[in-house]
Symmetry: C2
Subunit: 154 residues, 2 copies
């Protein structure tokens, strides 16, 4: 069990280029309730079931369990809300912080989001120059919202 | 991953008596969608996260993962829909089948339900004499329904 603290930003697409292939993520939701989201995710060759509580500012309760890849595939294909979310994740280190840059495909094609995880809500972050504006509080960018109302429909 | 096939019955309360203490079950739901229920359960000293698909007749897809007891307690207390379901489970063998008899407490006080798991939907079951009528198809008796509309409110 943990508390997740993260900030989410849009990026300037002309200032950022992926440095590697990244890792493929396919995810869907068994619950999109904001008080109790339940996410199924395959990430590369691994798979996870993740439960998150409601956001309190930029913090939220999170529990994650690794599950068999085949189970996750069956859950994604048969049980999860559609459309699924498909994206490629790139990792970049910048001045002591690790950034996850998610390039979306499918029904969220065109969206690129960068997230940084923090140790405390007040921790300061030096922003890379390809960071545009923060969208941590914009519910439309929650992955659980992108599955109900994908980016291409905005 | 498995397919669960079971039949559910009410019992004659004057014809059945528990033979032992049984095991305490406390459970709640992160999703009560009938297409994708997500259940958190503590059972004795163990804890499980269970995902079930929609009933197809008396069959449904089911996946279950053991999780740390403390995680389950936090999920039940903080994230699951209320009220939680509290019951004591008794196991009885009868002519080649294993019966689970659930005696409910709390908001479902007064309800006792017996379930038998089958290998195929057409498998015949010899019913114990304390079995009353079958309620497999009655959605009110789904545990996920009992959490939304408990027995004492019927």
């Amino acid at each position: 069990m943990g508390i997740e603290i993260e900030r989410k930003y849009l990026i300037y697409k002309d200032k950022w280029q992926p440095k590697d292939e990244g890792v493929s993520i396919r995810q869907g939701y068994l619950s999109t309730d904001k008080e109790r989201t339940v996410r199924v995710r395959t990430k590369g060759k691994k798979a996870y079931l993740t439960i998150k509580g409601e956001n309190k500012g930029i913090s939220r309760m999170e529990m994650e369990y690794e599950i068999p890849f085949e189970d996750a595939t069956k859950l994604l294909d048969n049980l999860c809300h559609k459309p699924l979310i498909e994206k490629t994740r790139h990792i970049e280190e910048h001045l002591g912080h690790t950034w996850e840059i998610d390039v979306f495909f499918g029904d969220n094609e065109g969206l690129i989001v960068a997230e940084v995880e923090l140790l405390s809500p007040t921790e300061e972050v030096k922003l890379p120059d390809w960071i545009d504006r923060e969208v941590s509080d914009d519910k439309r960018y929650y992955n659980s919202s992108l599955c109900l109302k994908p980016y291409i429909t905005w």
